[in-house]
């Protein structure tokens, strides 16, 4: 558990982070979101003491982080950043193994761990282990960056706009990967982004920041349903947020049981698809009803347009 208690950071007379308090429970994925210069990166970097906090208290599992030796603290916290920061003079395998080696794991253990992580991140060991960072695509490099952050099996993972420099398709892939990995490893993740869609997609808990303060925090659905002010409303997309909310809802939550007498549907969705996709399919095919099928193609439900809109007269 990470607790920030009245934390501030001053740079000279300038206040970068202004008295914020925040609790991040174990195993949750907390996304700090806001425009550039809002203090979200500074907040993140105060947690591993790359920046020291000027006031307040930061605790990890109840212990003040100031009590720890800086380097030892950082070796216990995974860290991934936007431009990967991979060491250009080291191979992929050596990059991933850096923290275990700093922790003086023996050679075989490091090697074993590197293989595990490359498998977890979908990087073929034989193909990539001996490549240098400049030989990788942006997406591959970022996977290596995430693998490196996870190498010493830290309880906490800090990610500073890790997917910010990637093209939309690669970014979406890596977001999916991150969710998949998180469902296995259940780390406490603090993730910084300026992209609200990314925040909505990944977060258990969203923290909206502006000018060094926390404007609003809560689960994605609540941020969407009830933005605290105009700024948050703009961030969540204003009149576009119907679709954003639909993107967070699964078809399985909305569907009706299959009725045998219904005519064959033109288009189908699965229970795990998002409602955003369902609406898109309805618009595309010009239908008001979709068939819901499972992976094997068996019909498990039906989704009529009337489930999406309370057709108030």
């Amino acid at each position: 558990m990470i607790e920030l208690d009245g934390v501030s950071r001053f740079f000279g007379a300038e206040v970068a982070v202004d008295n914020i308090s925040l609790t991040i429970p174990d195993g949750s994925l907390c996304v700090l979101v806001g425009t550039s210069g809002c203090g979200k990166s500074t907040t993140l970097r105060m947690i591993n003491r790359l920046i020291e906090h000027s006031a307040g208290e930061i605790r990890i599992d109840g212990h003040q982080i100031r009590r720890f030796n800086e380097e030892k603290l950082r070796r216990r916290i995974g860290y991934a950043i936007q431009n990967t920061g991979l060491f250009p003079h080291w191979t992929v395998a050596r990059n991933i193994g850096v923290v275990p080696r700093l922790l003086k794991w023996d050679h075989a253990a490091v090697d074993q761990r590197v293989r595990e992580l490359m498998a977890l991140l979908g990087l073929e060991f034989d193909e990539f282990a001996n490549k240098y960072p400049h030989q990788l695509s942006g997406g591959q490099a970022q996977r290596v960056g995430v693998a490196r952050a996870l190498a010493a099996d830290p309880g906490i993972l800090l990610m500073d706009e890790p997917f910010g420099a990637l093209d939309p398709i690669t970014r979406a892939n890596l977001q999916t990967e991150l969710l998949r990995i998180q469902s296995h490893i259940r780390k406490t993740i603090v993730f910084v982004t300026h992209d609200m869609d990314e925040a909505l997609r990944l977060a258990d808990h969203i923290v909206v920041m502006r000018a060094g303060r926390i404007i609003q925090q809560g689960p994605p659905t609540r941020i969407l349903a009830d933005p605290a002010d105009d700024f948050v409303e703009t961030l969540v997309g204003g009149r576009d947020r119907g679709l954003k909310r639909a993107a967070l809802t699964r078809v399985g939550e909305m569907m009706e049981p299959a009725d045998a007498g219904a005519p064959a549907a033109v288009a189908t969705v699965t229970p795990d698809d998002s409602m955003r996709l369902a609406v898109s399919l309805m618009l595309w095919h010009g239908v008001s009803r979709l068939a819901v099928v499972d992976d094997t193609g068996r019909r498990v439900g039906t989704l009529p347009l009337s489930r999406l809109v309370d057709d108030r007269p």
């Binding site: 591993n48 790359l50 380097e71 030892k72 603290l73 950082r74 070796r75 216990r76 860290y79 950043i81 936007q82 431009n83 990967t84 920061g85 991979l86 060491f87 250009p88 003079h89 080291w90 850096v98 923290v99 700093l102 240098y132 960072p133 400049h134 030989q135 490196r148 800090l158």
Partner: protein, 386 residues
């Protein structure tokens, strides 16, 4: 890639100009008189002449076709000509000098220089076109040198003025080379040490950065002879004041002022390169190194310094080449080195002696340049090369 290789064509023309237009050798009755010049076709028999001209024509013909296999034949022909050059030269001078004439000697004329120069450039160009690797390049470069060394060892070139001057002062020559290398080595080593310290200091306190670079730039603008002279007085004064220095070998003239001046000149390129090298390491990499939990020393030695190394070596290369040349002037204040031979030769109007001093300097500079370039390239391989 069937394109006319114009560069090679021009170089062949240059080589032919060397063969027919300029003196290949000059025969001097003694070491000072300029002597009479002979062109290659006057110095050689018709067979030997054909042995030079025909390969050149072959190279020109293949250059017009511009195919890859042709380029390989061109390369082999040019290497062959260079291999034969010392032996041909030896044959030419032995026929031109009457046997038993101990004072007479031959000087290498402009024609021969031009021919060799053109052939070497041809090799450089062909090596690039053929994309020969380090190994191939090394082979192409060492074979002619080995041939020259063999001709020298067998005494084929003993009648050459250059060789005569060398044979007359073998020990002095070896001493001069050693002195030169020691002087340059000490200067480069000392300035590298100081430059690293200065660069670290400049990174700590940006305020002293401008000042340091300003002072070092100013030192660069002082003419070398003046700087050597300027150091005479203060050093003599210091030695007079602190006799302990004298027992350490410090004097107003000799090694101490030469070393000081060379270090002075070396500091600007060395410090600037080292500073820029350390500064230009990607901040994201440094930040992630810190974020991974490396301590300040680990960040510096494992990441920053390693990544800066190719650029630092670039500074060492520039500085070394510059110091090798400048050290020649240091002979004027009694620091020894190859400059001694050059100035002796100038004083005696013996051009062959000047050459004996100057040629090794040029060769040393080229060798150091090539070696350090290769080293920087090898270090960079990890991050810039496939």
């Amino acid at each position: 890639m069937k394109r006319t290789n114009r560069v090679s064509l021009v170089l062949v023309l240059l080589a032919l100009l060397g063969v027919f237009g300029l003196d290949a050798v000059r025969i001097q009755p003694n070491r000072i008189v300029a002597g009479t010049g002979y062109r290659l076709f006057e110095a050689l028999g018709p067979v030997e002449l054909l042995a030079i001209v025909l390969p050149l024509c072959l190279i020109a013909g293949l250059a017009l076709r511009g195919s890859r296999s042709g380029a390989m034949v061109m390369l082999v022909s040019a290497v062959g000509l260079l291999l034969a050059a010392p032996w041909g030269l030896g044959a030419a001078i032995t026929t031109l000098i009457e046997p038993g004439n101990g004072a007479a000697r031959a000087a290498i004329g402009g024609g021969t220089w031009l021919l060799i120069f053109a052939l070497v450039l041809l090799l450089v160009d062909l090596r690039q076109r053929l994309g020969l690797g380090v190994g191939g390049g090394l082979l192409v470069a060492t074979a002619p040198v080995a041939s020259l060394a063999m001709a020298l060892m067998q005494g084929r070139l003993d009648a050459l003025g250059l060789v005569r001057e060398y044979l007359g002062r073998r020990e002095a020559f070896v001493d001069a080379v050693v002195d030169h290398l020691v002087l340059v080595g000490l200067a480069v080593g000392a300035s590298l040490g100081i430059a690293v310290l200065l660069a670290l200091l400049m990174r700590r306190a940006p305020r002293i950065r401008q000042g340091t670079l300003g002072v070092l730039s100013f030192v660069q603008t002082i003419p070398s002879l003046a700087l050597f002279g300027l150091l005479l007085a203060p050093l003599s004064w210091l030695v007079a004041r602190y006799p302990v220095l004298e027992s350490l070998g410090v004097q107003g003239i000799g090694l101490a002022p030469a070393l000081l001046a060379l270090v002075g000149y070396s500091l600007l390129p060395m410090t600037r390169n080292t500073y820029i090298a350390l500064e230009s390491v990607d901040e994201a990499v440094i930040e992630s190194a810190r974020g991974m939990g490396m301590g300040p020393l680990q960040v510096f030695f494992r990441v920053r310094l390693v990544l800066a190394l190719p650029l630092i070596i670039e500074g060492v290369r520039i500085t070394s080449v510059q110091a090798i040349g400048l050290a020649a002037v240091a002979a004027l204040i009694g620091a020894g080195g190859l400059g001694t031979l050059i100035f002796q030769g100038l004083g005696q109007a013996a051009m062959n002696l000047v050459m004996l001093g100057a040629l090794p300097i040029v060769m040393m500079a080229m060798l150091v340049d090539a070696l350090l370039k290769a080293l920087a390239g090898a270090l960079r391989r990890g991050d810039a090369d496939d």
